[in-house]
């Protein structure tokens, strides 16, 4: 039995409960099996977060141990933590080679508690630098193939045992992303509180109309919608209070994570969830006069604080939850002429959660020497994103049919990084 990682940190932003003494925790660990059914209502949950716009992985998980990083980015690099530079404007060292952008300070305690892992130089092998295509490829899970109409996260769901919950697959926001499209019902929820037909008298008729229509597409969406409405009704009765003083930052991303947390804790049957956050396409003015200022800093503050709040809010339940983050590609190793970066290749992915063996940067670091760069300009790829996502699907959700989740991909369990506890 692994040592409990629940260390009580007196002054940290996220205080946790006792030292492995919770009988519930032990019991769950003993019962941990791969079938979602075995845990009864306590299903395994995989939360996928998409940073849309090509987040700059090199400035997010900074290879401060490699001098070339500083040579390539004379004005927008994140300084090493040395004397004379404020802590909030320099890298938060992780392991001597890599460090976090300072605006991700709220994630450091998770790293220290080994609940946060990073896979660097990861991403899609497809050479496209088109946001649109690359996002499509990453969400469909079939880089290079335009014909795929469904998404990896929908395919990741195991065949349901019994009647599936209508909210097994839930996406936050007013649109249903490609990753969530597929044969399993998936619902887009813009706001839990307004996820209903306000007029009760009309609701019944509308439900009947959509149930009876010969229009297959509308029939399917209508049915899934009304089933989800019925199930989520109970969540609308009382205002939600995040646990343990967790404070989600204002804004759409914080709202999304808060609502996912709410649904997980309410045991409505969520198994896969999706949220996204845009505004990462920093072609100009990526970094302000100091690292803690500017567009990237703002994005990362929102990103990190939301994830940290989610972690704190879920508390105990994080044992069943894995969060994985991705972006369609990274950005150029060298800064451009506008204190920004252009479209690149490999990127950094985060994995967070109870089952994660964190406190480590996984993946092979390819280096930033000219001959080591992809097409002489970008961070080279050493880990396919499907290996990262595949491990979560295989080991956490328990879906062994990886070849069906990522059709056409020759990877397998032997290519997993091993960031999840066996």
């Amino acid at each position: 039995m692994p040592i409990s990682r629940r260390i009580f940190l007196r002054d940290s932003a996220i205080a946790m409960i006792g030292v492995g003494t919770s009988p519930l925790w032990l019991e769950r660990a003993a019962l941990a099996v791969n079938s979602t059914a075995a845990t009864g209502q306590r299903r395994k949950v995989l939360v996928a977060i998409f940073q849309r716009g090509a987040a700059d992985g090199l400035n997010i998980v900074v290879p401060h141990g490699e001098q070339r990083y500083y040579d390539l980015r004379p004005t927008i690099s994140i300084p090493r933590p040395i004397a004379g530079i404020a802590k909030e404007d320099s890298v938060i060292d992780l392991d001597g080679m890599f460090g976090l952008h300072p605006s991700l300070a709220s994630l450091k305690p998770l790293w220290d508690r080994q609940q946060l892992a990073i896979v660097h130089a990861a991403g899609s092998p497809d050479p496209t630098r088109s946001h649109f295509d690359a996002q499509d490829y990453m969400e469909s899970g079939t880089p290079g193939l335009k014909a795929t109409s469904d998404g990896w996260l929908n395919r990741a769901l195991l065949p349901a045992d019994g009647k599936p919950s209508p909210v097994r697959a839930v996406s936050l926001g007013p649109t249903l992303p490609r990753a969530m499209r597929g044969t399993n019902d998936a619902v887009a929820v813009e706001n839990l509180n307004s996820f209903n037909v306000r007029d009760a008298a009309a609701a019944k008729s509308l439900e009947a109309m959509y149930a009876g229509t010969g229009d297959q597409v509308l029939n399917g969406t209508g049915r899934a919608t009304f089933e989800a409405v019925a199930l989520l009704q109970s969540l609308q009765k009382t205002p939600y209070q995040p646990a343990d003083g967790a404070k989600y930052p204002a804004g759409r991303f914080g709202d999304s994570l808060r609502q996912i947390a709410q649904m997980i804790k309410a045991d409505v049957g969520v198994e896969v969830a999706f949220a996204d956050l845009g505004g990462w396409d920093h072609h100009a003015q990526e970094v302000g006069p100091k690292a803690s200022v500017g567009q990237l800093a703002n994005r990362l503050t929102e990103f990190g604080d939301s994830l940290a709040a989610f972690y704190r809010d879920l508390g105990d339940r994080m044992e069943d939850v894995v969060v994985v983050t991705m972006s369609e590609f990274g950005r150029t190793a060298k800064e451009n002429g506008d204190r920004g970066t252009d479209h690149g290749h490999a990127n950094a992915m985060f994995v967070m959660g109870g089952p994660v063996q964190g406190g480590k940067v996984y993946g092979k670091w390819p280096g930033l020497a000219p001959e080591q760069l992809y097409e002489s300009r970008d961070l080279a790829l050493t880990t396919d994103f499907r290996d990262v996502l595949g491990e979560a699907v295989y080991s956490h959700l328990g879906n062994r049919q990886i070849a069906q989740v990522f059709p056409g991909y020759a990877g397998g369990a032997n290519k997993f990084k091993g960031y999840l506890r066996a």
Binding site: P174, V187, K204, T213
Partner: protein, 639 residues
């Protein structure tokens, strides 16, 4: 293959020879070659189909009008928007939205941007000289808010001193809500009677008083009133009063509001419907994002002066206009793209000393505007195109300056774009040459044809149709009106399978619903908010791809619920700012349904609605309920 070429040539000759008559070309060519005939709609269906596809939805009476005129006559009319007198109701509703007619420069004088406010505070710009007390008041409000925000930001130790970064959101007004305090009251520039009216009078008395005041007194009174009272008066009062209050509340928002409201009003009321639909299409094609910095106040001119005039003209003119537009130059960063070989600017601030090439526009110009992602360009082409466009910049973007070519930013070397050598020393000609190459490329013809076909015909348009349209594009040097004609005359457009086959986008759903019930829009503000919930915030698509043209992409549970709720609220007459004459929902259920759908509702819908009425509380008039259910039905979601 041989046959296909034959058909296209015949079609091409027919077009050129007849100067494109309004009639459909005879299917003789097709029969002669035994091409499989596509089952066509009935004539009745065609009339409704034309309305569904060329407009934002039929209004009561439109169908009869189209049938009377003849479908192809009507289409031909819509293809000549200038020949259609514009709806006077629309013109009247647009009149108060004064920024819609202003140049960027004039707009910024009257409604200074946050960047300008900062420069005014810093003493780098003078206060706008104006006799208009409202403008003065608005500027002072803006300055006060800016300073307030800055103090708050400094206190939170998160300053954002870069003036070209996105503007901070204006904080809520700090005045006490709802009550007129004694000091406030005493300070009002009114005599005792007037003060009494204001304090004790009815809503109407207050409005009459305000209407009687000269401008500067009116503004002073409005400024002194707490926002809640001010807003209540505004909502009850005439449009002119409402606008004054809007300007006082959020001067920075006036430009946004005019744009978004204007778009909805035009979609709902314009008689030049095809023109409106095409303006929406081409804005999306050449998308810019309202909330990116200076674009906030450049989009008004962009839409009016760059997009709209060219939607039925030559594609290359439209393309060039967007390439030169401050809005696009700013949005895709080309305005600050500098040749890697350009000398450093000695007087530039530290963070601008090192400048270089920005590829953003070069890429999207080919990927999204012309060739399409499969159009055959390489990464090298992207860089070369970016080099060509160095120097295409904006004079003082934060103050509404226009396009200018700056040779000192330009890369003078030789370039190679898509296999074409562009000699050194070309200056502004480099970019013009690229525009030419791209506009004339067959890949562009195909990409544009396909995009139009997706919007107007089907989420997956047949290749034969796209090829026909692309051929017209190439044969006419990119004449968009001709391409549209080819599409509207094609058998594929009138295929029976296409009748009510496309899912409506959120914009199409909302506007078609308001049109179907003859909604009278007093103010579109609430509907603009609704567009966010439905997933299509106007002018706010962050990515340069613009909103999708595929109806199927919009469908999901959140959006569906939002549509149902909107439908119900609209039919009850309860959408803020939109009056609906509930009396029109009289007569039997089937009649109400038919009036809205212009066809019989499907059996499932009919019986569900019937059951719904049966269960409705007795007091509730059932007409609006039926209308709401019809507007929210699966039937109404398709066009």
């Amino acid at each position: 293959m041989q046959q296909k070429v034959f058909v296209l040539t015949i079609a091409g000759l027919t077009m050129l020879a007849t100067g494109f008559a309004a009639k459909k070309p005879k299917p003789a060519a097709a029969t002669a070659l035994s091409a499989p005939k596509i089952p066509q709609m009935t004539d009745d269906q065609k009339a409704l189909h034309a309305l569904n596809r060329l407009t934002f939805g039929p209004r009561p009476g439109d169908l009869e009008q189209v049938k009377q005129l003849g479908v192809h006559q009507w289409i031909e009319q819509q293809l000549q928007p200038d020949s259609i007198p514009e709806n006077p109701i629309l013109l009247a509703k647009l009149a108060p939205l004064d920024t819609l007619q202003m140049s960027t420069g004039a707009m910024l004088q009257k409604y200074p941007s946050p960047q300008m406010i900062k420069q005014i505070i810093d003493g780098k710009l003078p206060l706008p000289s104006t006799d208009d007390p409202l403008t003065r008041a608005a500027v002072q409000t803006a300055i006060a808010r800016y300073e307030q925000k800055k103090r708050a930001d400094d206190a939170a130790q998160a300053p954002n001193p870069d003036p070209s970064a996105a503007a901070p959101p204006m904080p809520a007004d700090r005045m006490p809500a709802g009550r007129i305090t004694k000091e406030m009251f005493n300070s009002l520039p009114l005599d005792a009677d007037q003060k009494s009216d204001l304090l004790n009078g009815t809503q109407q008395t207050r409005l009459d008083l305000l209407a009687s005041l000269p401008d500067d007194k009116l503004v002073a009174v409005l400024e002194a009133l707490p926002p809640q009272i001010r807003n209540r008066l505004a909502n009850a009062g005439p449009p002119a009063l409402r606008r004054r209050v809007e300007i006082l509340n959020t001067p920075m928002q006036v430009v946004n509001r005019d744009l978004t409201e204007g778009k909805l009003l035009r979609a709902i009321y314009s008689s030049r419907q095809l023109d409106e639909v095409l303006s929406d299409f081409w804005f999306n094609h050449f998308n810019v994002y309202l909330d990116k910095g200076a674009d906030r106040f450049m989009i008004t001119s962009y839409e009016r002066d760059v997009i709209r005039p060219h939607v039925l003209g030559k594609f290359k003119d439209l393309l060039l206009a967007t390439a030169e537009s401050p809005a696009m130059l700013f949005y895709l960063d080309n305005w600050e793209s500098v040749s890697d070989n350009a000398p450093a600017r000695p007087n530039a601030p530290a963070d601008r000393k090192r400048q270089g090439l920005n590829e953003n526009y070069g890429r999207e110009l080919m990927e999204l505007h012309t060739l399409g992602v499969d159009g055959g360009y390489t990464q090298l082409d992207v860089t070369e195109v970016a080099r060509c466009f160095t120097g295409w910049t904006i004079r003082q973007p934060q103050q509404g300056g226009g396009f200018f070519f700056n040779p000192r930013m330009h890369d003078p070397g030789e370039k190679h774009v898509l296999g074409v050598a562009i000699p050194a020393g070309g200056g502004i000609e480099d970019g013009l040459k690229v525009i030419d190459i791209l506009a004339q490329s067959p890949a562009t013809a195909h990409f544009i044809a396909k995009s139009l076909a997706i919007r107007f015909v089907s989420d997956n348009p047949p290749d034969a149709l796209v090829d026909k349209m692309a051929a017209t594009f190439s044969a006419t040097d990119g004449d968009l009106r001709e391409v549209m004609r080819t599409m509207f005359n094609a058998d594929e457009f009138w295929a029976a399978a296409n009748f009510r086959a496309k899912l409506k986008s959120p914009l199409e759903m909302v506007v078609s619903a308001v049109r179907a019930v003859n909604g009278d829009v007093d103010t579109a503000v609430q509907m603009v908010q609704l567009m966010n919930t439905l997933g299509e915030p106007l002018y706010r698509k962050q990515e340069p791809t613009g909103y999708t043209n595929r109806g199927g992409d919009w469908l999901n549970s959140a959006s569906l619920l939002a549509r149902m709720n909107f439908a119900n609220t609209l039919a009850q007459g309860k959408i803020g700012g939109v009056k609906v004459d509930l009396a029109q929902f009289s007569g039997d259920t089937a009649q109400i349904e038919h009036n809205i759908l212009l066809a019989d509702a499907s059996p499932a819908s009919q019986s569900a609605i019937q059951a719904g009425i049966g269960e409705a509380p007795q007091k509730q008039p059932t007409g609006p309920m039926v209308a709401g259910l019809t507007l929210g039905s699966p039937d109404f979601q398709r066009r």
